[in-house]
Amino acid sequence: MSDSLILLTLPDLMLASMLVLALIGLSIRLGLGIGRQLAIAALRTTAQLLLVGLILESVFASSRLPLIALIMLVMLTVAAWEILARQKRKLRGWWGFGISAFSLFISSFLITALALVLVIGAEPWYLPQYAIPLLGMLLGNTMNGIALGMDRLVQTAWQQRSVIEQRLMLGQRDRDAIRDIARDAMRAGMIPIINAMAAAGIVSLPGMMTGQILAGSPPVEAVKYQILIMFLVTAGTGFGVVSVLQLIARRMFDQRERLRLDLLLR
């Protein structure tokens, strides 16, 4: 933190909240019907972020590995649940959760660990000031990519199940019969992060970099971190989506290479 950091005070936040209140008032007046949702969401974001701020302060102060691991585990579990909650067609049993959590783990967790040890090199490597925000960025983005890719794969396979079966009837391998659909799903999962990289700096200033600049970092330093994050997030999303698509596509067929969506979906 540099000397130029301007601390926000309660009145500052109150002023910003007045804008939201004004919007709620407008919604009520014009009968737009989003006032209630807005109010609940604004209260939730305030409460959740304050709570997390308090927790992070105590975690940062203690730096104990078990506590950090516990927080990361909670983050992973919630992210895996969120992926399932975004699915139009619900997966059967614990498979969906297991596949999501496993894919989040091998992408977000391993890449975060890699970045912490090899790139950032904090001492100790799990220093929570770096580890938790970094994991949060990776999990959040990977979660989006996986949720989109998984939804696309399962939805398309469901809609085109007769086409898949017809390809099987002609003697295609199961992985060949699902290949075009899996490719589409991969693209669906990767488009947000590819867009973010392509538009970064021109159309939009990425949120993390903006935050760092507002908090007083020199722009070039903020940019370097943002580039690091972009690459990590891209790799994490990519590996996460590939993993989920492979695992789900495999679960769609039985050993005799029959399409068995009944085993996968509720």
């Binding site: 390809r167 009837m169 002609l170 003697g171 295609q172 199961d174 050993q255 290479e257 029959r258």
Partner: protein, 196 residues
């Protein structure tokens, strides 16, 4: 030789029968009697009991896709997954002409084709990978008489030249009499031989 040994699907008695090389077996019966499910079981597309052999190769001894390359099913409704016909399979001009198409049909958009055209092209797509056994689920249901006759002749030709085998499902007894050496009716959960 195609051999079914106690092939069992729901609501139909276990089926045992043999089809010799070059032969075609006819199958008719009301909708829902189990004809399509029987074909799907032979192609190993559904779970079933009993065993199927094609040229001494047991269904369970090869992988699903290897079996279905030998024993291929032509469903009643043909579906396509690429934009153009030609992206789906390779075919000789001779076979195209036999079904009344020119070579430029391979450049056609699938969305431009009528259901009858798609059905005839699906027959060519089925033959393109040279299966030993053809499981034909009403292959000429959407076709006028002229085109149905072309399909019948093409299949007959294929079976004769390759010594291949077929099971032909049709609602038309006259057609079965033309294409099949022997025919069965699926009714009341049993296969009943039709008088030749």
């Amino acid at each position: 030789m195609l051999k079914l040994e106690d092939l069992k699907i729901a609501d139909v008695e276990a089926v045992s029968l043999t089809i010799r090389p070059g032969e075609c077996l006819g199958l008719c019966g009301d909708s829902g009697s189990g004809k399509t499910r029987l074909l799907r079981a032979i192609a190993d597309m559904d779970e079933h009991e009993g065993q199927v052999y094609a040229d001494e190769i047991a269904q369970c001894d090869v992988s699903g896709h290897e079996w279905r390359r030998r024993v291929s099913l032509l469903p009643a409704e043909s579906l396509w997954w690429f934009d153009r016909i030609g992206e789906h399979f390779e075919v000789q001009d001779r076979q195209l002409r036999q079904l009344g198409f020119d070579a430029d049909v391979l450049d056609w958009q699938v969305s431009r084709c009528s259901s009858g055209e798609k059905q005839r092209l699906a027959v060519l797509r089925l033959l393109a990978h040279s299966p030993r056994v053809l499981l034909l689920d009403e292959p000429s249901a959407n076709l006028d008489n002229g085109n149905a006759a072309r399909v019948e002749a093409l299949i007959r030709d294929y079976l004769d030249t390759r010594n291949a085998m077929a099971i032909w499902v049709s609602h038309d007894p006259a057609q079965l009499e033309r294409v099949a050496a022997s025919s069965y009716r699926v009714a009341d959960g049993r296969l009943q031989a039709l008088a030749p």
